[in-house]
Symmetry: C2
Subunit: 232 residues, 2 copies
């Protein structure tokens, strides 16, 4: 009986990782569509959102069933609650990818202009944050989660820089206002993806490690779910 | 023993309502600061964020303790998971209020300009959505939650309208670009608050009523937590 529960936890972890893969891919695809001015890529992102939404629901239900199946130990309950919270963040990463795709669709309608902002670099940083936050969860490594929290400051700075140079661009080239605004909003969407990765990292530390760095200083008190870490 | 658990559920519901009040107040205060160009109001919003963060943590821990206390019935488990999810949304409503306050602080530094956008009207609509989504939770009324979902479209349209007129303003009055951009971002922040209210309404329908409208059509299958609805 206990073993079935453990298997359930392992399967749930796998499902969450696949969900993370879908969300990360959506962001990367939307940013690739930005680079290539590719309407098809945008449509793909919009279509894949339904997959992400279905995956979110499936994970929520699986976590719920595991909680209801038997009295889980406190450490497993923390793990299950972490899954529910992380799941919600991943779904919203998918939403941000959709927002980016919509801005790209707007830009493709307009003349291409040179914009002083490095969206691909920002996208790379943000994707790495999502990936690492999930790694920190799967491997139960608080150091990895901590590294994600630090990367968030870097992305915030990129967004602030984008803000400054793009407003200047709007002032000097009013005919490029709309494109500059689209790029600015994409930078904000990417920063929001980084925020979700940060939330995930905080949840890993709070729920899985029994700690709370969300609004306090970080301390470490390692706690592993009873199902242990799989080799992944 | 069961009675203590029921009391715990009632207390948790009260805590979540207080949390909702704090989050709603933060948004209203930030928008009042926008109207009055009031730096003090902005600082109050920033200071109150720590209260909201502490409340979030307290609610998470209380929900966790109730889940761990005894084997909750499935309906109570759904209720507790709804609380955890709604709690996260309310904390992010607080974050949006902080974002608005920061934009207002930027605007106060700049010359006041006439902007073709009705932020107070949008703020009123958005506050009502947050309030009603919480009412729908407390009273277990799916119709109220459904009404919140419909209001979201109205707010989305307000945001789109703001986008169009403010970009036009940037083009015709380049010297007002930065102020127009601040207002545009405030409109986006308010729309994000509306999104959180929508998430809450969806959670009410999915978790509390045993239904899923998040990504499907709405159906009704009323389920009440065993603690029942208090008269609030």
């Amino acid at each position: 009986m206990r073993t079935r529960f453990q298997q359930g936890l392992d399967e749930l972890r796998e499902k969450l990782l696949r969900m993370g893969g879908l969300a990360e891919q959506a962001v990367e695809r939307a940013c690739q569509a930005y680079i290539d001015r590719d309407l098809n890529g945008c449509h793909q992102v919009l279509e894949n959102e339904t997959l992400i939404n279905a995956a979110e629901r499936d994970i929520d239900e699986t976590a719920f069933d595991l909680m209801a199946m038997q009295q889980p130990m406190a450490v497993d309950l923390r793990f299950l609650l972490a899954v529910v919270k992380i799941n919600a963040d991943l779904e919203r990463v998918g939403d941000q990818a959709v927002n980016i795709a919509e801005r790209v669709m707007d830009m493709v309608e307009l003349p291409a202009v040179e914009l002083p902002v490095d969206i691909p670099r920002m996208a790379t940083a943000v994707s790495a944050m999502v990936r690492r936050s999930l790694e920190s969860f799967v491997e139960g490594k608080a150091e990895l989660a901590q590294a994600v929290l630090e990367m968030d400051n870097v992305v915030d700075r990129m967004r602030d820089d984008a803000f400054i140079v793009l407003v200047k661009k709007m002032n000097t080239n009013p005919e490029a206002t709309r494109q500059a605004l689209d790029a600015l909003l994409i930078a904000r969407n990417l920063e929001r993806v980084a925020d979700h990765a940060t939330n995930i990292a905080e949840d890993v530390i709070f729920w899985v490690r029994g700690d709370d760095v969300r609004h306090n200083a970080a301390q470490e008190a390692p706690v592993q779910p009873t199902a242990g870490t799989t080799g992944s």
